[in-house]
Every structure is written in structure tokens, then in C-alpha cells.
């Protein structure tokens, strides 16, 4: 079981994509990167208040170089870390005291998370996932597609519990970009959820 999002989850997803012949076949014509935007919500607070959740999330952010993390400063997500959890996001990893942060998370409300987003970027290319990593706000704004939504909706998608199409059609996730391209490559989208994401159980 991996935590979403975490370094472990990203590595497992990359491996699952590499191993899945079904995904490679379904996505063999796909060309296009995604900027994914995860908006904090109640479930995010709940997951952060578990030790594994907090550790996982920190490990995910730690995949970014310091200067990228610095760009979160002054954004709602940066403020949550700096002002509510007591550690600016651009602190070195050993400065993150999980125990202290866990004690502060309990005081966090959904209101505090208003506008707090985490960004990650994935580059899908002819059946392989060339990159998947957290990025700073403003980076990869020119991605071919943008997918945004609440953390709970993202979890439904990456757990494979809900298909991407249902999440997008019911407005739980918002997809921006050339829709006719997506429609023509629906197989790739379905395979990503069914064959790759669903193959990495999340906690």
C-alpha cells in the first residue's frame, strides 16, 4: 500500500506503467503532458493527520529541488506549511519534525486549506511515462492538458475506484486541453486508470 501522493507512490506508478503491456499498447499513440493540480480538502487534512500520510506527503514534496519548493512560499499551500504547521516548505528535509507537525495538523481546518494546491507534472509519451514529479506553482503551465480537482476526487481516480471519465463528467475533476484529442485516445486514458493507477493500491 502506498500513500498518495508520496515518493513511493510515484515510483510504483512509474514501475506499473513500465510493466503493463496493456497500457503500452493502449497508449502507443498518446503524446501529451499533464499538469495535475490537487486542491486540499477535508480528506487531505484527515490523511495528513496520520503519520504515514504526513510522511508520504513530505517525501513527495521532497522530490522537488529546494528552489522549486521555495516557489510555494506565499501561496496558500506554502502558508499552510509555514503558518499552520510551523515549517516553511523550502526548509531542508531534516527540519521537518513529523511529531510537531502532526500535533499542529489537528488544529487545521478546511478553511485554512482554501486555495491550497499541490502541483505535479507527468509526461506521457507513446506508451511510456517519461516523467512524473511534483512541481512548483507556475511551472509547466503550458502543459498539453491540465487536470485539477479536490484531493478526495484524485484519490478516487488513482485508487482506480472511479474512472477518470466519470470524475470529469460529474465535474469532480476538471480537464482542460484539446478534448477532441482526448476523445480520440480514450483507450489510453482508460488504461492509465485501469492498468496503471489501479495496479498501485493506495492507503
Amino acid at each position: 500500500m502506498a500513500i498518495f501522493p508520496s515518493r513511493e507512490w510515484v515510483e510504483a506508478v512509474l514501475q506499473a506503467a513500465e510493466k503493463s503491456e496493456k497500457y503500452k499498447e493502449a497508449a502507443k499513440d498518446w503524446e501529451g503532458d499533464f499538469l495535475s493540480i490537487i486542491e486540499g480538502d477535508e480528506e487531505f487534512v484527515r490523511d495528513l493527520s496520520r503519520r504515514e500520510g504526513m510522511e508520504g506527503f513530505i517525501s513527495f514534496l521532497d522530490m522537488m529541488p529546494l528552489e522549486a519548493r521555495r516557489k510555494y512560499n506565499g501561496t496558500p499551500m506554502g502558508d499552510v506549511f509555514e503558518k499552520k504547521l510551523g515549517v516553511p516548505l523550502d526548509s531542508p528535509a531534516d527540519k521537518f519534525s513529523i511529531d510537531e507537525m502532526l500535533s499542529m495538523v489537528s488544529k487545521l481546518s478546511v478553511e485554512d486549506l482554501k486555495g491550497a494546491c499541490t502541483y505535479f507534472w507527468s509526461d506521457f509519451w507513446h506508451g511510456s511515462v517519461r516523467a512524473m514529479k511534483p512541481v512548483a506553482p507556475g511551472e509547466h503551465e503550458d502543459a498539453t492538458f491540465k487536470l485539477s480537482g479536490k484531493y478526495s476526487a484524485w484519490k478516487l481516480m488513482v485508487s482506480g475506484k472511479q474512472d477518470t471519465i466519470r470524475l470529469v463528467m460529474s465535474n469532480k475533476l476538471k480537464l482542460e486541453g484539446d478534448m477532441s484529442y482526448v476523445m480520440k485516445h480514450m483507450k489510453a486514458v482508460v488504461a492509465l486508470t485501469k492498468e496503471v493507477f489501479a495496479g498501485v493500491p493506495i492507503d
Partner: protein
């Protein structure tokens, strides 16, 4: 007399049983009720509380026929394409009108079961699939007074570059607080509108400039602002009432908006793919019914000293009818399997619309051609109300217009052929 040409189906005991059971229901329940409804002089009688229409609808719901197209994960019947095809051909054999009623019934909940989440599942889909008393009944609102064939064309993705040449649509939805407000009229041709509790409704969205800038939603019809007209008195398919619905500031929650941009533009044709398979199949049932009537009659009626079927000319007609029924079954079943795969198995919603539309056209045209020749074999008696054939002929004639004229469906398919082939 029925011989199943596909050995996989013929040798499967479960499928044979399914066909026999559905056939019995079609013969004992649907057909007699449909004939009774067909003969009612006033369409108001068809929709009256004590009408056999309701008995049949209840029995169909008890048997789960209202769940054929609903996602099995959300209470659908869980049949595969072949099973769905077998059921629908038999029901269509019983009567296309009442089968249309159970077909349009499930369009909105089926779409919700495939694409929606949250409230609409709890409030609409769940009670719908559990209903065995016909407390809920759905209809499908596409065409409008000024926008008949235009709406059919707008649903073909390959026609999109030309969509602005069409009428921009009359039924509009505008954002209203946390939901939508709907205004405008749907045509007099909405099947089951006079009896329906809900409609799966096509609307346009601001700036209301094109039918492609649209959405599909589900609207409960027991609300203030909904007006229904009288059921239409018409030539065929008299056992399924059509009527108009007008919306005057009717509110729905945001959840009830099931398909919106940009999916509407690119994917609404997939609903037509499914309904096209449905239509092609039920009209195959009608074609078979007409063929069987003619064959039987031709064996009993004697002219020039021998049964009609012993005359070369009649034999030739019977052969052609047989060929149409069999080819229609094979073709519509194949296309049903394709559309089913894309919709319920792969879930890529990218079925080939030219094939689906052609299945509808082929089934409807076969039904009309077979019913036309069948009636001819009956001679003068074919025109009387004593025989079923005149009803089948009238129903088949209505089929050439219902759900899109065969010409316009062909035109839509042709745009797809030219673009994709």
C-alpha cells in the same frame, strides 16, 4: 419456425431459455395489450390510469427490462450484448411501441449510471432500478418544434464543422444559483412524454448559439413550470403515446446535469449509437413478426387451386422477406456487440457511429419492406383490422421517421464515412 444461425447462441441452453421466456412474455402479454391499445380511438385512453399500458410497463419492470442499459455496477440487469439483443428482438416482435416505452424509460438513468456520481445516483438511479411498480417512467427529449432532423444531425460528431448551419435550439438551460433553470418547448413527438415522470433532456447552454454547445440532463416532470400537451393521434406505434413538454423556469440541481461541455459535443452521439442498436433490433423483431404472419397466411389461403405459398411469385416474396429478417438480425447483433463493448466493457465511448446508425436504418428499412410485402400477401384482408399485419405495417411506417428519418440518419452516417473512411 425460429432457427438461430449462430451456433454459439443456438447451443447455449441459457440463451435459448432466455429467448423462449422473453418470447412467451411478448406473445402472451405485450402483443395482446399492444393490439388493444392500438385500437383505442382516443390516445387519452392509452394513457389513462386503468389502461393496459400500465400493466405491461409494470410487468416489464418486474422482469427487469428497464435495467438492460443501466451499468451493472449501479443495478443494471447485467446482460451482455447478445442477451440484450435476444431480449429486444423478442420484445420488438411483441410490439415496437411498448418496447420503445421501456427503451426510452431507461435512457436518462442509464446515462446517469454510466457517468454520474453523488446525489443523482441516490435520488434517481437507485429508486429507478428498484422500481417494479412503474412509479418512475422516463422519456427522451431531443427534438423540438423548430428543430427535428437538425437535432439528429447535431448529434453526429463528424457533422460538427457544419453545426452552426442548423437551428440553434429552443430548450435552454442557464445557470441559476447552485443549479440550472430550463426554458423552452420540446416537440410533440417525445415518446412516453404523456406518461413519463422524468425526461432525459437535451438543452443548449449560454450563449445558446449552437446545438453543439449543449448538455444532457435529467428533469423530474412533477415540478411547477412543466406543461405537457395532449398525446398525439397518429398512424402507427399507437401503443406508445407521444406528446410535447414545455419548460417554464424549471429548476434542476447541478448534479442532474449529466453530460456537459466539452463532453456533450464529442460524446452525445454515443447515446445515439446505443439507441440506434436498440431501434435496429426491435424493428428486426417487427420484421420477423411480419414475415411469420405472411408465411402462415400464405400456407392457408388458397387461390388458383393451391396455397399462396405454392405460387412462384409469392415464394419469391417469402424468400426476400426471410433474407431481410436474417440479415437484419445478424447485422444489428454484430453492431450491438460492438457498441456494447465500447460502452460497457472498454468504456472508451468511441463506438463507430456510421455502423450504429446503419444498424438502425437497416433494421427499420427491413421492417418496412417486409411488412409492406407481407401485407401484400394478405391481399384485401391485410387491410382489415382482423389481422395483425396492418398494425405491423403502420408501426413499421412510423419507424421510418421515429428517432430520426432513415434519410437523415443516413446523412449523418455519411458525414462520418467521408471523414473517417
Amino acid at each position: 419456425m425460429y432457427f438461430e444461425i449462430d451456433p454459439k447462441v443456438r447451443e447455449d441452453k441459457g440463451l435459448s431459455l432466455l429467448r423462449e421466456e422473453t418470447h412467451r412474455f411478448a406473445e402472451e402479454v405485450i402483443r395482446p395489450a399492444a393490439r388493444e391499445l392500438d385500437r383505442m380511438s382516443d390516445p387519452e385512453q392509452v394513457i389513462a390510469k386503468d389502461s393496459p399500458y400500465w400493466d405491461v410497463l409494470k410487468q416489464m419492470k418486474k422482469l427487469g427490462y428497464h435495467r438492460i442499459f443501466i451499468d451493472p455496477d449501479y443495478g443494471g440487469l447485467g446482460v451482455n450484448a447478445t442477451e440484450a439483443h435476444i431480449i429486444l428482438e423478442e420484445l420488438g416482435w411483441g410490439s415496437v411501441g411498448l418496447t420503445t416505452a421501456i427503451g426510452v424509460d431507461q435512457i436518462a438513468p442509464a446515462v446517469a449510471s454510466l457517468f454520474a456520481m453523488g446525489d443523482v445516483i441516490e435520488k434517481i438511479v437507485k429508486p429507478w432500478v428498484e422500481d417494479t411498480e412503474a412509479k418512475y417512467h422516463g422519456c427522451w427529449g431531443v427534438t423540438e418544434p423548430e428543430c427535428g432532423s437538425d437535432y439528429i444531425m447535431a448529434c453526429e460528431e463528424s457533422f460538427l464543422p457544419h453545426v452552426k448551419e442548423l437551428h440553434p435550439g429552443e430548450v435552454r438551460a442557464d445557470e441559476d444559483g447552485d443549479g440550472w433553470v430550463i426554458n423552452g418547448p420540446k416537440s410533440s413527438w417525445i415518446s412516453s412524454a404523456p406518461t413519463a415522470t422524468h425526461v432525459g433532456l437535451h438543452v443548449t447552454l449560454p450563449p445558446h448559439d449552437s446545438l453543439a454547445n449543449g448538455a444532457f440532463c435529467i428533469v423530474p416532470l412533477d415540478q411547477e413550470g412543466v406543461t405537457k400537451g395532449k398525446p398525439v393521434d397518429k398512424l402507427g406505434l399507437r401503443d406508445d403515446p407521444q406528446g410535447d413538454i414545455t419548460f417554464d423556469n424549471v429548476h434542476i440541481p447541478d448534479d442532474y446535469m449529466l453530460i456537459r461541455p466539452p463532453f456533450y459535443e464529442f460524446r452525445i452521439g454515443q447515446i445515439i449509437c446505443t439507441t440506434s442498436c436498440f431501434m435496429g433490433t426491435v424493428f428486426t423483431g417487427l420484421a420477423r413478426a411480419a414475415f411469420e404472419e405472411a408465411l402462415e397466411y400464405s400456407k392457408n389461403r388458397v387461390q388458383e387451386g393451391k396455397p399462396l405459398c405454392e405460387h412462384q411469385l409469392v415464394k419469391q416474396k417469402l424468400y426476400k422477406m426471410f433474407e431481410k429478417v436474417e440479415s437484419s438480425r445478424c447485422y444489428t447483433r454484430k453492431i450491438m456487440e460492438h457498441v456494447w463493448e465500447k460502452t460497457y466493457i472498454e468504456r472508451t465511448f468511441d463506438a463507430s457511429s456510421r455502423h450504429a446508425l446503419s444498424a438502425q436504418i437497416y433494421g427499420k428499412r427491413s421492417a418496412f419492406e417486409v411488412a409492406y410485402e407481407a401485407l401484400q400477401i394478405f391481399g384485401g384482408y391485410g387491410l382489415t383490422k382482423d389481422f395483425l399485419i396492418e398494425k405491423l405495417f403502420r408501426d413499421a411506417r412510423a419507424g421510418l421517421i421515429e428517432d430520426g428519418t432513415t434519410e437523415v440518419l443516413g446523412l449523418a452516417a455519411a458525414y462520418n464515412i467521408v471523414q473517417e473512411c
